[in-house]
Symmetry: C2
Subunit: 133 residues, 2 copies
DNA sequence: GTATATGCAAACAATTTGCACGCCT
DNA sequence: AGGCGTGCAAATTGTTTGCATATAC
């Protein structure tokens, strides 16, 4: 049952490419999207390898996994921020911490808070600006 | 492609039982848990029926679906509240709206906000009170 | 040299769906 | 009577894993 945290990770090209793909987009892609993108660089990379490396990158705290319905999405941005999903176009936008203020009093009730995840939905500015069909 | 919103729903016993189960617990159960519970009342109910009715109840706004990792959880409580998940015991607690204050300025940027989902993680008061092992 | 990572395909787990029959309205 | 809902099992989808080989260190 011991967590094996003395594994010597190799710095493989596959993992580098996957991390670069994630760091260079803000669309919060699915594993499949990352796979297709990675294939342009490494044509015979496998989907299993993509999943394996996403898990490793997440374990190492280099990326985040977002759970949007049943399909995971991944985020190369790990500093403090939140998400907004537009119900019209489906895009996921980053919400800056200065645009959200949150306050809670759960510590007073004996709870320790480690992570705060805020997800908003609605209609984005772009879709709001468009004519209604 | 037209949404069929003129379907005449029948009020089946299966659906009643599933809704009652959800209304009478605050553990935010999975479909499987609901299925097992429902079987005590309707021994030959099928898992497919549970899923179908959960989807219908959600469409009608009578329950909520929480996406906790890859397994959905369901919430029979639909008034404004949030969730806290304990990383030690795995329990999901309801967080009352008066225990969280949130403010954002996204409307000023042209966004329309429809739903706000806040999920906290950490250690609950019960686990905090226990001796460390 | 050796253990970790890969590609491939099969396995898995959660959920959905097709079908013939049943039962609400 | 008619059509929505059911039980059952098979299908689908997203993700994980076993295995033989390749590769980083």
């Amino acid at each position: 049952m011991l967590k094996k945290d003395n594994i010597k990770r190799r710095n493989t090209y596959q993992r580098q490419v996957i991390l670069e793909i994630l760091k260079s987009t803000n669309i919060h892609p699915t594993a499949d999207w990352i796979y297709e993108k990675a294939r342009k660089e490494i044509p015979n990379i496998s989907l299993g390898t993509v999943y394996r490396n996403l898990k490793i990158l997440k374990e190492e705290g280099l990326i985040l996994e977002l759970t949007d319905g049943k399909q995971s999405r991944f985020d190369g941005r790990i500093d403090n921020h939140f998400h907004f999903k537009c119900e019209k176009c489906g895009s996921i936008f980053d919400v800056e911490p200065e645009d959200i203020f949150i306050k809670y009093n759960l510590e007073e009730k004996g709870f320790t808070i480690r992570t705060i995840d805020i997800n908003l939905t609605g209609v984005c500015s772009k879709c709001n600006g468009e004519k209604s069909s």
